[in-house]
């Protein structure tokens, strides 16, 4: 650690760099500290009886419940069910969206043909079509997968198209001049060029997918984190509800972090500018 500081200071010959290093550390600590402080205040308030523990049980109680559910294996069953639906929904919604979106960016005709449909259906709240989806797909897995898929479809299709349209025209001229086929243009220009925006779409899509899977599981499922929370309401186990919320929140953070890592790996040319 000390060596790192001395080399960086030696390079720029500015003592400022070591000062900035500690500033970074302070910022990181603040990031971590704010939720911890919030939880502490919550815990204290709950113990002193300043808040109604029927609605806001102490964090320590929620944590206890988490351990109980984890040990009994219940939490994992629901967690796995939700993850599976997310995975398939992501696959069935995301991949067609990616192909369609990039193709729409490449082909004016296809764009003219499909864009009105997408613009018209995009503003419909996805939660509002749940009854219809349940009617069509029944109470089985497919209705849940469809809901996730539809949530992920829109952000990815729209971002993929926008990503291709943002590519400088000169790059398409280059690929044409060098004799690239349609598929080669797709693979070497459109897809990598649109990738930064596509990943933004994936990020948004996963967030929406988490919202929709919880909702779909509340209404028509016998497993999953959404079902677990709904079931907890019925048996008045408020702590279990909070466990569900906590797990979903952690999932959201984990996915977001994973995409940040993925970006570093897939679009290295966008970093270090």
């Amino acid at each position: 650690m000390s060596q790192q500081i001395s080399t960086s200071a030696g390079k720029s010959r500015r003592p400022v760099s070591s000062f900035r290093f500690s500033q970074d550390a302070i910022e990181r600590m603040l990031n971590f500290a704010s939720p911890v402080i919030l939880l502490l205040i919550w815990e204290i308030c709950a113990r002193l009886g300043w808040i109604d523990v029927r609605f806001f049980p102490a964090p320590s109680k929620i944590f206890d419940q988490l351990m109980i559910l984890a040990k009994s294996g219940q939490l994992w069953i629901h967690f796995a069910a939700s993850m599976q639906r997310l995975f398939w929904g992501f696959l069935f919604g995301g991949i067609p969206a990616l192909i369609l979106g990039v193709s729409m960016g490449l082909s004016r005709t296809l764009r003219m043909l499909v864009e009105p449909v997408i613009s018209a259906t995009y503003p419909v709240p996805k939660s509002a079509i749940l009854p219809l989806v349940l009617l069509i797909f029944g109470l089985g897995e497919s209705s849940k997968i469809f809901m996730v898929g539809i949530g992920i479809f829109y952000p990815i299709v729209i971002n993929s198209m926008a990503g291709v349209l943002e590519i400088n025209k000169i790059h398409f001229d280059v690929s044409r001049n060098f004799g690239a086929s349609r598929w080669q243009v797709f693979r070497t220009v459109a897809l990598p060029g649109a990738m930064p925006l596509i990943l933004t779409g994936v990020r948004l899509g996963i967030g929406l997918g988490l919202v929709l899977i919880s909702l779909a599981e509340i209404v028509g499922a016998k497993s999953g984190l959404g079902f677990m929370m709904w079931n907890a309401w019925e048996i008045l186990s408020v702590e279990t509800m909070y466990v569900g919320l906590l797990v979903i929140a952690i999932l959201g953070i984990a996915f977001s972090q994973a995409i940040t890592e993925l970006e570093r790996y897939i679009v290295p040319w966008k970093h270090g500018r």
Binding site: V174, R176, N177, F178, G179, V189, P192, P268, W269
Partner: protein
């Protein structure tokens, strides 16, 4: 031009993206490019815009052909038609069939044309990869041209990590590595400072001496035209047409700075400037007229 064989041009036409009736294969080996009455008009909402007036031109094989003209005279349009990126409105374009396994042309574009998502090596290898050449050949050929342009150390860098001059060198390496029959260069050095420009001109001449391919090179610098070219076409202000074609008598191989020190060099630059000045002034008058 009508006696061109009917079957041969197919491959070339596909390459250039032009229809058969407008591009034909030259039979004669000593002429690489032949234009007859080639013109281009753009039709926009505000009306028709003539970029190129009918032009006749013959470019011999192995010629380093320079085009100078005021900005907006249709130089780039002409090059884009040759590259197959644009189609002429009228007239014929004949390009000699390239040797087997050799693409008809490769272009060095004006400005930043490297793919930001590819490394220097991947950028330079682009043409060969699109033609599905074996990996070993790609490695050797690209390695050779990266070495010739002094970029070997940077083969894993991304374009944003390079300076403007280095990026332009990658762009030149990309065109040369594709081993095309004709090289098209659209003001490749215009964005560079004077020192880099001279170094790159020398580099270009050195690499070109290895193969002596036919080159079409657009520039707005008379100095550059006289330094590099065998023949210079001066174009008129808009609408563009050929005003005058001048032969450059200097022997090859050339050394840029030594050439520029010679009195004949100055005389030639001066006389070409005399022809070009009127056109530049006309182009400026047109711009001012539009501004009003």
């Amino acid at each position: 031009m009508a006696q061109a064989p009917a079957a041969a041009p197919l491959a070339l036409n596909e390459e250039a993206g032009l229809s058969m009736s407008d591009t034909m294969t030259l039979a004669a080996a000593d002429t690489k490019i032949r234009l007859r009455g080639l013109s281009k008009t753009f039709y926009t909402k505000s009306g028709a815009f003539t970029a190129l007036e009918p032009m006749n031109l013959d470019i011999p094989t192995g010629c380093f052909f320079m085009i100078v003209g005021p900005s907006g005279c249709g130089k780039t349009t002409l090059l884009r038609i040759l590259a197959g990126l644009e189609k002429q409105t009228d007239g014929t374009l004949e390009i000699a069939a390239p040797p087997k396994d050799c693409p008809s042309n490769s272009m060095v574009f004006q400005g930043d044309s490297l793919f930001p998502w590819m490394t220097v090596f991947e950028n330079a290898a682009y043409g060969l990869r699109m033609r599905n050449r074996p990996a070993g050949e790609i490695k050797d050929t690209v390695g050779h041209y990266l070495q010739r342009t002094g970029l070997s150390r940077f083969h894993n860098s991304y374009p944003h990590q390079l300076s403007g001059g280095m990026r332009q060198r990658v762009s030149i390496a990309r065109a040369f590595a594709n081993d095309p029959d004709i090289l098209l260069m659209d003001e490749p050095f215009s964005a560079l400072d004077e020192q880099n420009k001279i170094l790159l001109q020398e580099e270009l001449l050195r690499i070109w001496e290895e193969t002596r391919k036919t080159v079409m090179f657009i520039t707005h610098s008379v100095d550059e035209a006289v330094t590099l070219g065998d023949r210079i076409m001066i174009m008129t202000a808009h609408p563009g047409r050929s005003k005058l074609i001048v032969d450059v008598p200097f022997e090859r191989p050339r050394k840029v700075l030594e050439l520029r020190a010679r009195p004949e060099y100055g005389e030639l630059v001066y006389s070409i400037w005399g022809h070009l000045r009127d056109e530049v002034q006309r182009a400026r008058a047109q711009d001012e007229g539009q501004a009003k």
